[in-house]
Amino acid sequence: MEVGKVDSIKFEIMSPYMIKKMAAVKIEKPELYDPDGYPIDGGLMDLRLGVIDPGLRCKTCGGKMGTCPGHFGYLELTKPVIHPLFAKKIYQILKVTCPVCGRVMTSDENIAKKKPMLNKLYKSAPKTCPHCGAKATEIKFQKPTIFYEDGKDLNPEQIRERLEKIPDSDLPVLGISTRPEYMILTVLPIPPVTVRPSIVLETGERSEDDLTHKLIDIVRINDRLKKNIELGAPDFIIDDIWQLLQYHVSTYFDNEISNLPPARHRSGRALRTLAQRLTKKEGRFRGNLTGKRVNFSARTVISPDTMISVNEVGIPEVIAKTLTVPDHVTEKNIDEMRKIVLNGPDVLNGANYVVRPDGMRKRVMDLNKEEIAKEITPGYIVERHLKDGDIVLFNRQPSLHRMSIMAHKAKIMPYRTFRLNLCETIPYNADFDGDEMNLHVPQTEEARIEAEKLMLVENNIRSPRYGLPVIAFKHDHISGCYFLTREGAKFSKEEVAYLLNLIGKKSPGHEMVGKELFSLILPDDLNMEFVSSYCVGCDTCLKDKCPYDSYVVIKNGKLLHGIIDEAALGERKGKLLNKIDMKYGHARARQFMDELSKLALGVLSLRGFTISISDFDISDDGEKKIKDTKKKFEREAEKLVENYNNGRMEKLSGMTQEKTLEMYMQQIASKVSDQTGKVIKNSVNDKSSAVIMAKTGARGSYVNLSQTAAIVGQESLEGERINRGYTGRTTSHFKRGDLGLKARGFVEGNYRHGLNAIEFFFDAINSRENLMDKSLQTRHSGYMERRLVSALQDLRVEYDGTVRDNRGVIIQFMPGSDSLDPSKINHGEIDLNLVRENIEGENDD
């Protein structure tokens, strides 16, 4: 079908004639219903304004509820009032137009140009009119709707006369295309009842919408104003009522105008009038148009499950019995479908609804399930419960990248939480301190296939951002792999049986070395060599003769040397995972991850793993060395400060003396940390858990280690040593002008022995800055992501390979202009060795 194209849309201010023309009713009475409860003709609930009660017909169009869109009415205002949202514009226009001739007070050339320049004009309005020579008056505007001219009141009637005088020819300069006097309301459109439906309470009482309440006020005051004028009431009374009418109309449009008390409900709650319906988070735009709600979704707390596959998600039975998948009944599955229907809605693997071929939906209940089971024939659709293996989408907010929503295979489980594999915590950025996640069930076959092919977890192991695994091992997985693959790891017959049972493999019935055990889950023909993160970085690498067992050699699927740790398995590192995923496919990589995670955690549970404060004990020799380095640099720092104070410090180019000193002091501070760090590396107990975690990359680093065991070091604020607080000093414990290490936030102590009060304060300063930075950063990146999504949401890759937007306009002739998928490229590099292997075939050395 050919669809007409919208060329342009023009927004204008509605004229009173238009308002009357489109209205079906003239509203004249403030009452809603007569004593019998029947809507009054000419009241605000007039039957001609539309239908809101089921079964009734509209008096204007004859439509039923749902087909009748509702019809506007109008209210003739006794005296004009200012439209509050146009008040500022009115002020600007009054200021630049002549009070006598009504022309815009600017040169004829400017007017002839027809370029909107109201903003420029009103900033420098001339004193006399260039057209008639009349003196300009001083217009004052008091928010929200009061105007003064030369100190005297200017009422809406007078303003309207002014605006009427402006000739059409002058309008383009003002940037408007409608008559400006329409900004003063003489006729108020009354929205249809469908916009402000009343609710019938259980008691039979009617409860009216906030808008109706507001409209009643307007109609009533309007009526009173009219009567008072007819009675010839004194001017001040009329002005009072007129002002009240202005107030009601103002709050009808916007109940949150500054300097105007909000109109309240009888209960004291502020009314939700027109502007409030549109703005803010729950408003029409953000709440209803941008943020739509969906069916077939679930949300609950997440918890970890070490035995579940990476591809799976554990779904509570309660949720599985609520979420359904429509299954078509065919000749082949009819028996199965009957069984499902017979299970009813309350038993797992049952059904909640059945859809007949004519589209009628029937609820399956225990009462009628036998009947329905007999009734179904091919062509029926059974909305059955979620079952194991169904494709579902799983998401955690904030959805910052495409791995924030992935497809999983359902696994129905007892209890009330979603269960997920620990490797997925990385892309979802999830932890289990109360995080909740969302689940969606695709309802069509195409949607399920598309989700499975593009979004299944195993298909997203490697990130399109850096071409290395994002779904990877972390924390205990890596510690476990260390104990599994380290030199000398041996497992008894029983242990081997236990571990292999975890991954469903048969035990060979004898004891095994850890590396052999690990090799069992590697692909048979895998060959690779790399340096593990356990590596200490010797000057010349001895490769497979590494004394620290840090050089990994895998030959024909056998791990010969090396410790498997973060470098093999970690996020954004994982060489081994990366290779398996690229060479043997996503499914194989997933299998490897499933098996290895069970194995690694199995090893840890056999052995036990814990840390204690004694992990940070260092040798006496080490203690002494640390003390010496601290002293040495302290003396150096003292000397520097002394030189500076004596004015003997040589300036570095481009720096003042102060800056030079600062730089040197920072250098010293970092030298202390570096050198103590080195001492720590050598004098810490290699077999302690904390050190193992730091070395394998499971958790923590040498910096953490040395801050705990030796020295915390320089605390900084905004990239400088801490230098604020009191005049010339950080705290009152130091002399003014003391630029020494300790006076400017250098913390000599360590977390193991504890900090003194001043050090603790400096540490808190630093921690606070880090905390603030972190939260500001997340806000920032959240907004950046939102802007990106808004800009790119309609783009897609068409079948001809072009990237187009929703109008079919080509954005790129090839995705990314090079058609390369970063998630299929090894860390953004072309691996020539891999190319060679593929060409020559493997095992060639």
């Binding site: 187009r804 079919g808 306009v809 090079d818």
Partner: protein
């Protein structure tokens, strides 16, 4: 002053013939309006003397895959 076309950051721009234009539009089954645009006030457009409605073929060097083609239609502005 040297021409901007000699700058290494400016890819090769050429005006394509009417036949090529028709072939291009047919290839992607699009109208001229659906092509990416370039303003007639663009410095490169002025140098190569393209008129409103002309289609410019841009040959860009992409490091990974050699070169890519991009087409832009000249619009008024």
């Amino acid at each position: 002053m040297s021409s901007i076309m000699e700058n290494f950051l400016v890819p090769k721009h050429e005006i394509i013939s009417e036949e090529e234009k028709v072939a291009l539009l047919n290839k992607y089954k699009i109208s001229l309006k659906q092509l990416p645009k370039i303003l007639s006030s663009d410095p490169v457009v002025k140098v190569i003397g393209a008129k409103v409605g002309d289609v410019i073929k841009i040959t860009r060097n992409e490091m990974e895959i050699g070169h890519t083609l991009y087409y832009r239609v000249v619009i008024k502005g």
